[in-house]
Amino acid sequence: MTGNTPQIEQDRSLARRVAGGDQEAFDAFFREYFPRLFRFTLLRVDNDSEVAEEIVQRTMCIVVRKMATFRGEALLFTWLCQICRNELNAVFRERGDERRADIPIDDHPAVQAALESIISSDFRPETAQRSDEIARFVRVTLEHLPASYATALEMKYVQGNSVAEIAQCLELSEKAAESVLSRARGAFKERFRSLWDFEPGFVVN
């Protein structure tokens, strides 16, 4: 994530460079999207890393072949996720697996149940199952953020790192790290809401 250029513009530029054969751009693309896509997939294959590896490899091979056709009508990660869902279905079919990945996440029974539990007044965060569901939501949300945002949030709130440590990890000045953190907080909340049309504030009771 660099400067204030809109993400969509950055995505278009990266796609053009990858399609043009720029090795540096390919590496940046892989570094940014592979871990996110892998975790996105893991969540959908019951944490089976072998299946996730196959699906992510297929997805990324398709994407690099088709990179020249990326027009930036959606974010690059959204495009990757859509192709990934198709490949999930294809692999399940080939493996004779009964699972189907084409159920929208917010139609998934577990997600629905969790949403209802979060919104309802009798939500009890100590309930392990519900906590797991919320944790799953949060992880999905993080994977929809640029890698530097997710890293900054995780370092700050999960690992308890200082801004200086975050700055060092992201190779930024402390001021820039604070700015990234601020944008990351905003992006997390916005993405969380847009994914599930849900206000995080309801959780606090």
Partner: protein
């Protein structure tokens, strides 16, 4: 910012922090998986991004076009005559407008050629084909054309094909086969014009043949629409549609692995196996031969995914390539009607 807004923001931030702590750290991606996937995706990227495209191709083609037309003059004429001609041409260029650049655009590259071409009249592997080209194959000759976006057009022997536009070809004689890729990811339609109607693919593997007063459209995967003079016909996977000017329209069943398709498989662009997984290679072979790929167990499938390939199978057709590659592995293959079945080679354990 007033106090209420500040309080709401703080509350939101605290909520978010609690949720993040509840979720805990994200699981790291294992290094071995990262390295494997990087190697495969990079190999795929390199093989797909080495094909020239767009204006770069046009420049190369145009430069070659100019060079090819100048050389015969230089060879035939003596230097004084050439000098005189140059002076004359220079005057002519000053007095007349520049000749128009041919209105051409690159369409794809030749990916495979079979048969002899003693006169060197046909384009060679790697050559660019562009709009306006007329491709004629003789007896025993055939070629495949790699189009942008991973589509493939194969031209059978005794065929005459005119490249009208990037996605439009006019079949004047003979037979062509098109594979426009996985229907989910295709971004355009391919049109084959004939004297008896227009064939438009809806997806994704099909052949078109014309002879006298007949057009034959066979569909291996997906569907095509045939827009005739008076009617529109639809052919779906597993069908062969014959539109005869004399006796009308008939439809026959045609299995995706029927030997009708063998000529197209023999022209399939070579699969570059270097650094690709065995699983990807087998998927390619299955698609090229219209067969389903079946593993006897998921463990074998995962093992195929983790088996890297090296070398070349460019001289083989897809089934020969499968047998050749698997002969060097612990896998066993059975080619059945409609299926490529992968098992384990028990000889290793005996």
């Amino acid at each position: 910012m007033n106090d209420k807004t500040t309080n709401d923001k703080d509350r939101d931030d605290e909520t978010m922090a609690r949720m993040l702590r509840l979720a805990g750290p994200r699981s790291p991606v294992p290094d071995d998986i990262t390295k494997r996937v990087y190697a495969r995706v990079q190999a795929e990227w390199r093989s797909s991004s080495t094909q020239p495209e767009g204006s770069r191709v046009y420049s190369e083609v145009h430069r070659q076009w100019k060079k090819d037309r100048l050389r015969p003059w230089l060879r035939r004429l003596a230097m004084p005559v050439a000098l005189a001609a140059a002076i004359f041409l220079a005057i002519a260029v000053v007095m007349q407008p520049s000749p128009p650049v041919p209105a051409t655009a690159p369409v794809g590259t030749i990916a495979r050629f079979v048969g002899d071409d003693p006169g060197g009249l046909l384009p060679a592997v790697g050559d660019t084909v562009y709009t306006g080209d007329r491709i004629t194959t003789g007896a025993g000759q055939g070629m495949s054309l790699a189009l942008d976006g991973a589509a493939s057009l194969r031209i059978d022997q005794l065929t005459v094909l005119l490249v009208e536009a990037k996605d439009t070809f006019r079949l004047l004689q003979g037979r062509v086969y098109a594979d426009t890729g996985d229907v989910l990811y295709r971004d355009r339609k391919l049109v084959i014009e004939t004297s008896m109607g227009r064939v438009t693919d809806v997806g994704t593997q099909f052949s078109v043949r014309i002879a006298d007063d007949l057009i034959e459209v066979a569909v291996r995967e997906g569907r095509v629409d045939v827009d005739g003079d008076t009617d529109i016909y639809v052919a779906v996977a597993g069908e062969r549609l014959l539109v005869d000017g004399q006796s009308g329209v008939t439809t026959e069943m045609l299995a995706p692995h029927d030997e009708h398709w063998d000529w197209a498989a023999s022209l399939s662009p070579a699969f570059e196996i270097e650094n690709k997984s065995l699983l990807d290679f087998l998927r390619w072979a299955a698609r090229e031969t219209g067969r389903e790929l079946v593993f006897e167990s998921n463990e074998l499938r995962m093992s195929a995914m983790r088996t890297d390939l090296h070398g070349s199978v460019s001289d083989f057709d897809p089934l020969e390539a499968v047998e050749s590659v698997l002969a060097t592995t612990k896998f066993d293959v059975r080619i059945e009607a409609g299926r490529i079945v992968i098992g384990s080679d028990l000889r290793d354990t005996q």
